[in-house]
Symmetry: C2
Subunit: 418 residues, 2 copies
């Protein structure tokens, strides 16, 4: 039995017409692949979850998280019912399954629960009866039977976790774009649709702003070795396969250029050197639940250093306040916030084997006279912080600089079936 | 422990302001009655269930009943979450419970399921933790864990069934009117709010069109001896208690005058006499799922009779068709439909012990020159069919004729506590 999981996001089921389109798409797939079994996972209709959050916030100031999850879970409940009805009308037997029916067990961290286990008995029984299970994404149930939700990107996680538990051949993520591009096609006209990337690259790209997949779901897919396919619900195409590194024929030096506009930069001037000061600053930020991304430090001048770090933009005012509260005690000169920044990154597995990526990157940016304010690196990516107004120019120039480079060839040639 | 169940209907939770009002009402009740425990049951926000039905029907022609119930159940899920949040914000610990959490077991007749059993363990545990259970009305779960719904009036049934299972002292039904009236106050200005009626009377009045309670819930309350209280969510007052007959101090000859405009009348002219013909007509109607209410027959003239019966107005065209199909075979002259009729009834326990109610009824109608087309009686009610245009006049004249009569006095004086 060839089993695949197909997940349809909020825009794919955004109205009744689209829900019926999804039903026809599944019907068409089964007609072409009669030997396949399909498990579907759906999100709430786009905008519905935000509407429910708004409803709760209009009702009370601080909605109790347990009750918030009971409320939010209705979003997916509506779509599974409508999709199951639409499939049945097309003559495709189907059966909607809520989280407690699909036995998706989570911890009890309401509004951001983690999946602990999926008992796939009901899903398998449903398949054995010849019915398509239509599973509510985004939701789970804790050991006491309380409704939980998985937070943003939750439906992708449900789909990947189900695919892992069912040992599915692949998990298809249907969305409103044809797949993953080498750069955002809205700002880089030469961006190419990638036919294959590996989980590690996709994880970096997702974290860095390629909004097609939530990093948590990519991480999950990587950990459980689930091949992912991202493709469009609305236009035919083969999409982007996200596979294990060893299944890639080629390892491009740079697979994609990504950017993110959601960060802000805080700089502490003339901080006395030494690990105690750093520890105090970042300890205070951690206690305030502020996530710090990049950190850079200038060399010591007269025993003092300038230190910069980036934080999520929506937390930046609070982060500045926390930082400024540390300033007097530490004897620093002051702290300031800069919000007009962009983080631009090049990502690619081949980077591991190829020297000179950073040099080529700086050369390309220098040609456009773009100042680099901070630099961060990992094994397979290099990120820079640049003034926000230069973001698009930076992406385009980096794309031009890297996309023509010859890829490394994988010796173990293994074309994944499509 | 004094335990009460309080059920809030769709208009009582019709918007966020009203949901917060309900939370304050419960908070106020508990402040005044600290020794009481309260279990709440809520409906979907008014109009929400119809909106969901509409959504399903816009999506597919014949929604699969199982999926319809998954969809409809979201309506109450939204209100339990919002009410629980609102209670928690007021400092009243609360916990929403879906049907599967409150363990409300039903058969699997989707969209019109019957409650088979309620295991009240979770509700009791919730109470023992000092939390108010906020239970979703209208929904249940079958033995395989499928979501079911109870049909129209379902939330009242949930409330009454819970009150029975918990052996609650009373089940309060909060609605948008102050209680049950001796006649519809919109058409009869002298209508009085009734402080007490018995289940049997209320059952007749509910079936006959007093829309405050669904007959199924009254039947349930009667069967399980649950005292019901109907009162307004919005204006203070003691409402109407619906109690066991033996708890009534007085048994008025006529408790109320009701009317219904939802019937149509079909007449078969010159049907050959004999039980075979009748059996064939009503057998055909039954096979077409058409519910027949009143039936009258004229005396035989030359071996033939005219027969009239009433059916729900929305089924009347189909009923006429079924009837007309029988006409040639039976050798009757023809069948006709009359839709402009009203059913007006007088209901009262005391009627059992009091002769002359029918006589007084006809006298009152004759005074207004209202023709009576059909007559039906039970132990505690007399119904007549009159032309629809005379409905309001008939109700007012009957109210005047009966409401001044002295009640029978119950020997076992038992004023129910309020």
């Amino acid at each position: 039995m060839e089993l695949v999981v197909k997940k349809f996001g909020g825009t794919s089921v955004g109205d009744l017409g689209r829900i019926k389109h999804v039903a026809r798409l599944i019907h068409g797939y089964l007609t072409l692949n009669p030997q396949h079994k399909v498990v579907t996972v759906v999100s709430a209709m786009s905008g519905e979850t935000d509407k429910l959050i708004q409803l709760a916030r209009s009702c009370v100031e601080n909605p109790a998280p347990r009750e918030m999850d009971v409320l939010l879970a209705t979003g997916e409940q509506v779509t599974i019912a409508l999709l199951a009805m639409s499939l049945i009308e097309l003559g495709v037997p189907a059966r909607s399954l809520l989280a407690q029916q699909a036995k998706i067990s989570t911890d009890r961290s309401y509004t951001q629960a983690q999946i602990l286990d999926i008992n796939v008995d009901t899903v398998r029984e449903t398949l054995e009866k010849g019915q398509i299970p239509v599973v509510a994404g985004f939701q789970g149930v804790d050991e006491e039977g309380n409704v939980t939700t998985l937070g943003r990107g939750g439906s992708d996680i449900t789909a990947v976790a189900l695919a892992a538990a069912l040992e599915a051949r692949a998990c298809y993520i249907y969305t409103d774009v044809p797949g993953v591009y080498s750069a955002d096609p809205r700002i880089c006209s030469r961006a190419k649709l990638l036919s294959r990337v590996c989980h590690e690259e996709m994880l970096e790209m997702a974290s860095l702003g390629a909004k097609v997949l939530h990093p948590r779901s990519v991480y999950f897919a990587m950990r459980y070795k689930v091949p992912l396919v991202v493709m469009s619900t609305f236009s035919p195409g083969s999409g982007t396969w996200i596979v294990r590194e060893e299944k890639l024929m080629e390892k491009p030096v740079v697979t994609g250029i990504t950017y993110r506009l959601d960060d802000a930069k805080i700089t502490i001037r003339k901080l006395p050197g030494g690990i105690e000061a750093l520890s105090q600053v970042f300890g205070s930020l951690a206690r305030a639940d502020i996530f710090v991304d990049m950190i850079t430090q200038t060399g010591l001048v007269e025993g003092r250093t300038n230190i910069s770090f980036t934080v999520p933009d929506e937390l930046s005012s609070r982060a500045l306040e926390v930082t400024q509260n540390c300033v007097p005690e530490l004897g620093a000169e002051g702290a300031s916030l800069e919000r007009d920044i962009a983080k631009v990154s090049v990502v690619g597995l081949g980077m591991r084997y190829h020297a000179g990526v950073a040099a080529r990157m700086f050369e390309a940016l220098a040609k456009e006279k773009i100042d680099v304010q901070m630099i961060g690196t990992s094994e397979i990516k290099i990120s820079v912080i640049v003034p926000r107004k230069y973001c698009e120019v930076a992406v385009r120039s980096l794309h031009d600089a890297f996309m023509e480079m010859k890829p490394e060839v994988n010796e173990e040639q293994y074309p994944p079936a499509t």
